[in-house]
Amino acid sequence: MAQPAIRVRDVTMAYRDFVLMRDLAFDIQQSDIFVIMGGSGCGKSTLLRHFIGLKEPAKGEIFFGDVNFTTAEKDARDAILRKIGVLFQSGALYSSLTLAENVGLPIEEYVPELSPAEVREICSLKLALVGLNGFEDFYPSEISGGMRKRAGLARALALDPEILCIDEPSAGLDPISSKLLDELILELRDSLGTTVVIVTHELASIFDIATTSVFLDVNTRTMTALGPPRELRDHSPDSAVREFLNRGVVPGGVQ
């Protein structure tokens, strides 16, 4: 088996004195669609922020391939971050730039030798990938929430990332758009081999696309399950996990 794309080793996440999650340890395999799930406020998004360098673990380390991201110098970190695309919950498009300029921003930053015309061409391609061809010169405020999210995905894909981090892909989307986004993610994984890390608690989406998942339990403040979501739903020894994956209804359970 190839080397895992991301390895999380005994990570404790904390805001100053407040420990959010402790002893997180798991691997994310290459080309996996890895879902971080858990109840509201358990620290799913915070864990994702650790992967993209916006927050440091209070304890423990995160490895990308065989590079220790937590202790790496700035240059090594930048080299890793360049390979990660991030889609934030609201899209986080920069509002004074058009969609094409938004997608072009990371390209201009990391590949300055490209000519404006070449950048523009890549932007159009990425926007077309997410079904937004023709919207290059629109501003984020002129398009709908679902489109903004897709444009955010186009920006995340701008540098052909090896790892794609997505925070709550279905938040604020109607079921059909959310389903389309899921299919898009699957398609991208299949054609590019991208490793995808998703934070979500949308069950339909979890069962549709996740290959592996980790469950963060808000009560015990640590991870309580790791594995394919369907298996966890039916066979997890932890009733909280089964309850979560069955929308609170545990067949033959204590509830």
Partner: protein
């Protein structure tokens, strides 16, 4: 054992008031060890009561309402202030590095953003600066005239208005107007970008938010403030002139010559330096508060307020330092 039972046969409509009453009764009953029999209550009421009791109060959810002791509060405030000072130093360092990268041409920012900031802090700010300065000129002339007329020295109103405005007050007023205008706008803009995760997004795509967002705004203010100060100087002298000519029976030429004789480069240049410094203060305070903003709409409002307060306090402090400096140096 005593038992509490209800009879609700006469009960017509009911709402939450009944429920709060029943909750109170229940807790009273529990206190006194009285058993409660809810059979007499309507089904809906029983359902809602069950629902409200389904989850017992979380032990650690209650906010400690106990008053913190004085010493504790002093300690906490001290820690907070030190953190604030530390953050400000870090930010100053980052801005300095960004400026250095700008000078060496390596800073990544968008020209268009820079020109937009120039427009917003320059041309668009000029009318309000001109209005405030004109009125300041008029007010100073009136205040001066009352005193100077007693000595028959009303012509010296021109000196008073010219020197006071050009040396000090133009820069100060422009700084304060810009703090309310641009400083607050910067804090609100950057703060709402913080709410919208745009700053995080910039960081993760390798763009420094300081270079991309803060630098063009601070530079725009540093470049535009001296120009606005000159506008303010000119308009305030016009204001003084209006009073001089219409109320004090001075001739236009006499007022002009008196002003030209009084105001020199030795007054203009310190005024421009002050204006530039105030511009830097407003830009930095506005952007700092925006970057520090929390992730809610409430926090963005607080950031804007704090930006204005910080700017004005720092401007006044700087003005004090400038006065002492020029007194000591004899300029």
């Amino acid at each position: 054992m005593a038992q509490l039972s209800y009879d609700a046969t006469e009960l017509g409509d009911w709402d939450s008031a009944l429920l709060t009453f029943l909750v109170r009764v229940t807790s009273r009953a529990a206190e006194h060890g009285v058993e409660e029999n809810r059979a007499g209550l309507p089904e809906g009421v029983r359902g809602l009561l069950r629902l409200s009791e389904a989850v017992s109060t979380k032990d650690d959810a209650g906010r400690g309402s106990s008053e913190k002791r004085f010493v504790t509060r002093v300690g906490l405030t001290t820690i907070e202030v030190t953190h604030g000072a530390h953050d400000m130093l870090v930010y100053l360092g980052e801005v300095a590095v960004a400026l250095l990268r700008f000078v060496t041409g390596r800073a990544s920012y968008r020209r268009a953003d820079f020109w937009l900031a120039i427009q917003q802090a320059g041309v668009e700010a000029a009318p309000i600066v001109a209005l405030v300065s004109f009125l300041m000129g008029v007010i100073l002339a009136f205040v001066g005239a009352i005193q100077l007329q007693q000595f028959g020295a009303a012509i010296y109103v021109a000196d008073l208005v010219g020197i006071a405005m050009v040396r000090d007050i133009s820069a100060l007023m422009t700084g304060i107007v810009m703090a309310g205008r641009s400083g607050a706008a910067y804090a609100a803009e950057i703060g709402s970008m913080q709410v919208n995760e745009e700053i995080d997004a910039l960081t993760t795509i390798g763009v420094s938010p300081i270079e991309f967002l803060v630098l063009p705004r601070i530079l725009a203010l540093i470049l535009m403030m001296p120009l606005l100060t000159i506008v303010s100087d000119a308009v305030s002298i016009l204001g003084g002139m209006l009073v001089g000519v219409t109320m004090l029976d001075q001739s236009f030429i006499a007022y002009y010559l008196q002003t030209a004789g009084a105001v020199s480069l030795a007054h203009l240049i310190p005024g421009l330096i002050k204006g530039t410094v105030y511009g830097a203060i407003v830009g930095m305070a506005g952007c700092l508060r925006g970057m520090q903003s929390g992730r809610s709409s409430l926090a963005v409002g607080a950031a804007a307020t704090s930006a204005v307060v910080t700017s004005i306090v720092l401007i006044i402090a700087a003005a004090g330092v400038f006065s002492v400096m020029s007194y000591r140096l004899g300029i």
